[in-house]
């Protein structure tokens, strides 16, 4: 399937500085996202999985410009040929060409846009946060929560706002009588529906789902997942689905990207990743899922130790201290993402052997 990319992330880096000492000078960095290349295709749901602290949320929020990136480029809805050309120019030896590329970037790269263009971008990208009880203001009526993006972006005339809100609430399965209530009057599942309605208000092309169901109960989670899937089909949305719940991602995503400590270690079609994982971390992660069936009888890979501190990540391959296949090369050279069987992209020196 060759479809166009909606978002193209190149060498994205996001460091959080740690300040210390008497003069609060710069001591070290938390390397939350450390050189990521990722493409999100139009109309797909890309699942981003990884353990807590591996930088999944940071990556998502950097795409939304809720955080400013330290380095790297994010192209949003740009033709592929143009991206390739700019990237080529950036790599070139001649300063003249590099300068030209930087000029081009100003209009293409969303990590540096500001002002009105940022406002326009915010119309196209939206987010649904993890915990709906924290992401909805307790002092605003549902009507005002859902209409806030419309008003801020001046998308509809003031007297049409109510109609639009009603329409949005209808899309997520809520009714007119809910408009004049406060968030605390709703259950977790309904609050998440409201948050989804708010995200849909500006007719976005891309929605970042930051663990949208992890605060919900199992029976309600299924309702929300089905709603999200249905919305994606009806409105042709592109999702980046950030979660640590692998079975949810299996249900939702077309493709999966696995992150470990600020790096992408494997990307592939969902079916491929689950049936034929290549990276040892992906293998361990998949074998650790508790499966709701007492007779699965599968072999578990139990990783030793914890996720290392991202301030001081291990040298070379970041997974090598916990990896049972680690060899000398893993401690000396950093693996790069390379294409492998079944359309996978994997960052491991030894994927062929294991």
């Amino acid at each position: 399937m060759m479809s166009t990319n909606l978002i193209d992330i190149r060498k994205l880096v996001k460091y959080y500085p740690i300040k210390g000492g008497v003069f609060r000078h710069h001591v070290a960095d938390v390397k939350a996202v450390d050189g990521i290349d990722l493409k999100i295709r139009k109309g797909e749901c890309l699942g981003l999985v990884g353990e807590s602290g591996c930088g999944k949320t940071t990556l998502g929020k950097t795409i939304l410009r809720l955080h400013d990136s330290t380095a790297g480029r994010i192209y949003f809805d740009q033709p592929a040929e143009k991206i390739e050309e700019v990237e080529r120019l950036l790599e070139s030896e001649q300063p003249e060409q590099r300068r030209r590329a930087v000029l081009d970037l100003k209009s293409m790269d969303i990590t540096s846009v500001g002002g009105r263009r940022l406002l326009e971008l915010r119309q196209k990208v939206q987010i649904v946060f993890q915990d709906p009880s924290n992401s909805l203001s307790p002092r605003m009526l549902i009507k005002h929560i859902v209409s806030e993006p419309l008003v801020a972006q001046k998308l509809v005339k003031p007297r049409e706002v109510d109609d639009r809100v009603l329409q949005l609430l209808g899309i997520v399965g809520m009714a007119k009588e809910h408009m004049m209530r406060y968030p605390h009057e709703f259950s977790g599942g309904q609050r998440q529906r409201i948050a989804i309605a708010r995200a849909l208000a500006t007719n976005p092309q891309f929605i970042l789902m930051d663990e949208p169901t992890s605060a919900l109960d199992v029976s309600v989670q299924a309702q929300i997942l089905n709603l999200l899937k249905q919305l994606q089909n009806e409105l042709q949305l592109t999702y980046l689905f950030v979660t640590h719940h692998l079975l949810v991602v299996k249900y939702m995503a077309n493709r999966i990207a696995v992150m470990y400590l600020g790096k992408i270690v494997e990307v592939g079609e969902t079916k491929e990743i689950f049936e034929n994982p290549l990276h040892p971390y992906t293998k361990a992660l998949l074998s650790a899922i508790p499966i709701p069936d007492p007779d699965t009888g599968r072999e578990r890979i139990i990783l030793t130790g914890d996720v290392p501190n991202p301030v001081n990540p291990p040298k070379a391959c970041r997974f090598h201290p916990r990896c049972s296949y680690a060899k000398d090369i893993c401690r000396q050279r950093e693996p790069v993402l390379e294409s492998a069987d079944g359309g996978h992209v994997v960052a491991c020196h030894r994927w062929r052997e294991i």
Partner: protein, 431 residues
């Protein structure tokens, strides 16, 4: 299999400003000797309240208003069991952390940030195994005294030894008193005559007021410098703590024991909480969502640890979780709870392959599977508010098979197959 702990028709209420929250609506469950038993359900269904009631640590404004909690721990209690709801608070204190211990949901909040890990793990040794520690310290001191050359050191150690011996004697006396009162209370439990009722009240009062008091030791503990003698115990406790941590696979236990909780990762903190719970080799370990805040790979480590401990040290585990996958993996038998009721109890295999209660069926269908092709089935509606719970069967407003009778009366729990009980009117006719 023999029962270890049983609740019969347990009712627990929370008196709030909005009204009475009827959190438990007649919960009858039991844990057998040597099994891992699971309690599953969504949040607010009463799993945690059930086990907190079992330990009698329901937080205010919660109150156990009815039912029985029976323990069958000692050989001689097997026939009848001890109803802990009739026992005094001091009895419960001696029970918690010793025979029954508990792992709480969030390790980071259940550890005290200002106390060292060695102290927190050693606390239950100090409390429940004081006699044993005193004995060991005395034995150690005996050895050291014969090896010491210096006069002063020898005198100090001899003093320590004699004080510890005295403490041990007092403690033994106190414990034997407690045992005799407990035995008599147990004998009198079902007596209804005036004389025995009066005797029971007297015994209860006496038990609550029993103290291990010794004038000399109390005096020494107030004398500066001399009071330092008790420090010797800490060394014995610390050695045991280090040994325990090592057996749980904690690397570098000496350093960890000297450190504080914030220095550790989430998985490590959970190991420490498990160590605290295991300190006194409990008969029953209650694990209240021990892995809900951990990552999958760390969760796998902790689950693996609990499973291997189950084979070696602890006899029974009560495992609470909302994750059906974990139940399938860890438990032998499980109950599904819904809004304060036990919907269904069965062996894990029966529960997953042959679910009877409509709620269990719905729950199993709404979890994404590894082979999930079509859309997920959902249970319509939401978990009810327990201040005004639905009448009759609490699940009937969401149930696809609801009948007229479901709204009127609470369904009885019937045994559909041996060991497989369900509370639903769908199965009452043919029984």
């Amino acid at each position: 299999m023999e029962k270890l702990l049983e609740t019969q028709e347990l009712y627990t209420d929370f008196n709030t400003f909005e009204g009475v929250v009827k959190a438990l609506n007649g919960v009858s469950v039991h844990v057998n000797q040597g099994e891992t038993y699971g309690l599953v359900g969504e949040s607010g269904c009463g799993k945690s309240v059930t086990v907190r009631s079992m330990m009698r640590i329901v937080q205010s404004p919660g109150k156990i208003v009815g039912g029985k909690i029976l323990l069958f721990f000692r050989e001689e209690d097997r026939s009848r069991g001890i109803d802990i709801l009739t026992r005094s608070e001091t009895y419960m204190t001696s029970m918690r952390g010793d025979d029954i211990s508990m792992i709480f949901q969030e390790a980071s909040t259940s550890l005290n940030p200002v106390l060292s890990i060695g102290y927190q793990v050693g606390e239950s040794f100090n409390f429940h195994r004081r006699g044993q520690i005193l004995k060991e310290t005395v034995a150690e001191l005996e050895r050291e005294i014969s090896n010491t050359k210096f006069f002063l050191a020898k005198a100090w150690k001899t003093l320590q030894r004699s004080l510890f011996k005295r403490e041990l004697r007092v403690l033994n006396q106190y414990e034997s008193q407690i045992d005799t009162t407990d035995d008599e209370l147990y004998r009198l439990e079902n007596e209804r005559e005036t004389a025995s009722l009066r005797r029971k009240a007297l015994l209860r009062r006496r038990r609550d007021h029993l103290r291990e008091t010794d004038v000399l030791i109390q005096f020494v503990k107030r004398v500066p410098f001399l009071a330092l003698y008790a420090r010797r115990l800490d060394r014995t406790v610390r050695a045991q703590v280090v040994e325990l941590l090592r057996s749980l696979g904690v690397s570098n236990p000496e350093r960890i024991a000297a450190g504080y909780p914030h220095e550790l990762s989430g998985g490590m903190q959970q190991r420490i909480v498990i160590a605290i719970a295991l300190a006194c080799n409990p008969i029953l370990l209650i694990a209240d969502e021990p892995t809900s805040n951990l990552d999958v790979t760390i969760q796998a480590q902790i689950v693996d640890l609990i499973k291997s401990l189950k084979q070696t040290t602890i006899s029974s585990v009560l495992f609470i979780t909302h994750d059906l996958g974990l139940v399938a993996e860890v438990c032998d038998r499980a109950s599904v709870m819904y809004a304060g009721d036990v919907a269904e109890t069965a062996s894990v295999r029966d529960l997953f392959h042959n679910p009877l209660h409509p709620y269990t069926q719905g729950l199993l269908r709404s979890v994404p599977k590894i082979q999930q092709a079509d859309t997920l089935n959902t249970i319509p509606g939401v978990v009810p508010n327990l201040i005004h719970p639905p009448s009759g069967c609490r699940f009937h407003p969401r149930c696809p098979h609801a009948m007229d009778i479901c709204a009127k009366e609470k369904p009885p729990t019937i045994e559909f197959a041996p060991g497989h009980t369900v509370a639903c009117y769908l199965y009452t006719e043919n029984k």
